[in-house]
């Protein structure tokens, strides 16, 4: 059951539905009656992407699934790549696969953007990410899908000893959107940070799913996802950390904190721990609530209009996540993205 399979076969019955445990909050079957025809090759309408301001970034563009299928970083090499997945106005349905390899000691700043210029396209992307020993990947992904789109991004990450993956996902959702990250964690001093922010309005949906498996001793994982939903939007967070037998001295933390801003909005969370080793320290926290009325009142008593006060509180709330982005330019882009989201409006 996967979107990739359905795109290949044209058969909607192979779409995952809420009967599949891993997709219970993201029912693609109900959202898609028929598989559209394949997207055409179309490179006419490329505009500047969200990371355009970062001058040192080299661009790698994939439009409607057409483009390069490989990205490599040589041993010890530093690269900053703006990886753009674009669904053009003519996009219908497409699938793309990209293999990224960062050799030992390499450093890749991956500025990833998913830009939906079309309307009701269906997009499926599979990314495999190999991070060599001592190598680092800083991945910042901005998902700007259109409101009618169905989009699934699945990344599979393999790390070497002492490797680092720092990931931040920023999304405004789509009709159905899933951003899935699977990490095979070797322990051995490797470190993983998986962060996410969602700001959803109207009838948008977004699902951030992570699966981290600790296979060896001495690994760390740190996750923080925050977001806000309003109107009839629906946010989903599913995080799973598995600590395999023998993966002692694992330190894993997961946090998911969300704000519900309107009566019809919904948040579903499933933070899971699966632990087979005893010398570990694992924790998860999950909170869901409304904006603090007292804090709002306090700001308004200082003469700030309601809408602005709300926006201020929301951006302070999720700002904790964007502050963790270490690439200065990317952090700035993320903060601008927050301000532009207009979440404060009631």
């Amino acid at each position: 059951m996967s979107l990739a399979l359905a795109l290949q076969s044209g058969d909607v019955t192979s779409l995952p539905s809420r009967r599949d445990e891993a997709w219970r909050y993201t029912d693609l079957r109900a959202a898609l009656r028929a598989i559209p025809e394949a997207s055409p090759k179309d490179e006419a309408s490329i505009t500047a992407g969200p990371f355009a301001a970062i001058a040192e970034a080299e661009a790698l563009v994939i439009v409607n699934g057409f483009g390069p299928d490989r990205l490599t970083v040589a041993p010890g090499e530093h690269r900053t790549v703006s990886l753009r997945f674009i669904a053009s106005p003519a996009a219908r349905a497409h699938h793309a696969a990209l293999a990224i390899e960062v050799a030992d000691g390499g450093f890749l700043t991956l500025l990833e953007s998913h830009e939906g210029l079309g309307s009701d396209y269906v997009s499926d992307l599979a990314i495999s990410l190999q991070i060599g020993s001592g190598a680092t990947v800083e991945r910042v992904a901005i998902l700007n899908d259109s409101a009618e789109a169905i989009s699934v991004v699945t990344a599979t990450v393999d790390l070497g000893a002492n490797a680092t993956l720092n990931q931040t996902v920023l999304t405004t959702g789509a009709k159905r959107q899933r951003f899935e990250t699977h990490v095979s964690h070797p322990g051995q001093g490797a470190s993983v940070r998986l962060d996410g922010v969602y700001l959803l309005g109207d009838a948008r949906h977004s699902d951030q799913t992570t699966v981290v498996t600790h296979n060896g001793e001495g690994g760390t994982t740190n996750q923080l996802t925050k977001g806000a939903v309003r109107d009839s939007a629906r946010a989903v967070f599913q995080g799973k950390i598995t600590v395999e037998r023998g993966a002692d001295q694992t330190d894993a933390r997961m946090g998911h904190h969300a704000l519900i801003l309107s009566e019809r909005a919904e948040i579903d969370a499933k933070p899971e721990l699966e632990i087979y080793a005893d010398d570990v320290s694992c924790a998860h926290g999950n909170t869901v609530g409304a904006l603090d009325e007292e804090a709002l009142f306090y700001i308004r008593s200082r003469g700030v209009p309601l809408e602005e006060a709300r926006a201020l509180l929301i951006s302070a709330f999720v700002g904790e996540v964007t502050d963790r982005i270490s690439h200065e330019g990317a952090r700035q882009v993320a903060q601008d993205w927050l301000l532009a989201s207009g979440m404060g409006a009631s």
Partner: protein, 488 residues
Amino acid sequence: MAAVKKTIDQVEQLETYEHGFVTDIAQDFAPRGLSEDIVRFISAKKEEPEWMLQWRLEAYARWLQMEEPDWAKVEYAKVDYQNLYYYAAPSQKAGPMSLDEVDPELLKTYAKLGIPLREQEVLAGVQGAPRYAVDAVFDSVSVVTTFKKELAQVGVIFCSFSEAVREHPELVKRYLGSVVPTTDNYFACLNCAVFSDGSFVYIPPGVRCPMELSTYFRINAQETGQFERTLIIADKGAYVSYLEGCTAPQRDENQLHAAVVELVALDDAEIKYSTVQNWYPGDAEGKGGIYNFVTKRADCRGVRSKVSWTQVETGSAVTWKYPSCILRGDESVGEFYSIAITNGRQQADTGTKMIHLGKNTRSRIISKGISAGNSSNTYRGLVSAHAKATRARNFTQCDSLLIGKTCAAHTVPYVEARNASAKFEHEATTTRLSDDQLFYVMQRGLSREEAVQLLVNGFVREVLQELPMEFAVEAQKLVAISLEGSVG
């Protein structure tokens, strides 16, 4: 030397599972296997009215269409439903009787288990000592219910389920299956078809039940499934505290226990339900033991009603159990306090569901899981707020403690908020006993084993505090015993 002797005795007891004896007693069995005829047989044995039989047959027909669930994180050899006895009862005259007519072997069994069946025995202790009424269920039938007269004086109905069907059909008809519908799940549906006995409690409006009520379940017969049903109704403004205890003999084959418990709390009513589950867990290699597949659910139907579940789960080879609260009434409260301990090759998948439907509903979940040996312990829970459940509030804390390299602990919480004013908090931690704490306690002169016991007791204290006093003492001992032998 007395202390040393006591330790030796205790250790010997452990190796044999204290309650693992078999009572040799004449018993009536239903023919082996399951069919419509068996359902009719059970119903006839219980002298049930026609409507009850129809209800069972309907459930049986539905059960045949259902599939056994496999989503829980437990692995076990599938039950051969045709190879079980669905009814086993000590041979005796039908109908109510005095304690003197009960088979002395049975009385001995309960004496051995420390369950007071004679009212004067309960009273024999210190003046003003807390008393509790007991419904003793032996395999498929209720043997005796104590303090019935005294309870009847205040209008409390406490009797076996079969008696309730005969004496209070209007109450049974009204509430049976209203919390756990027939087709709720595979095991509950099976229970509807073949349930044999259990306890029935009705607390009339405004009555505070004068004593603790309790049911003691005992599986004795070989290759027998136990399917009991408990229905507790607290009418407006009523209060009741109910305890449940369970044990079974030590056998090499697995035995099935599939119970259904339904609680109904009307306006301003409160039900406190405590369980100390100590079914035979199987031996160290995982041979034998009880499959405990239980459906427990409370319906907080009235405004300001409250249901509190407290469970200490130390036994069973496999546990599949999620005591839940449907918070339907405005301002109703649900609580779940749980200690689940697994050792040897035990597997437990347990937790709760708090379903917030009414306004200003509150719930609290405290779950403490301890796994040792080669066992696996899963917390699985759901907290959900319906769109109309304004200002729903939940706090959840799940802590897992791992003792040893080969055990496993899992946490699978589901949180579904469909309401802007809902406030849900969940936190979970998984750790092992801290070396620092162990060292600190041991340098005060405690042995390693004692130090672990002390720390574990501290870990589960929050839940033990919720148990009625007599049970808390027993539970504390159980915690120590269950972990015996797990410290290297």
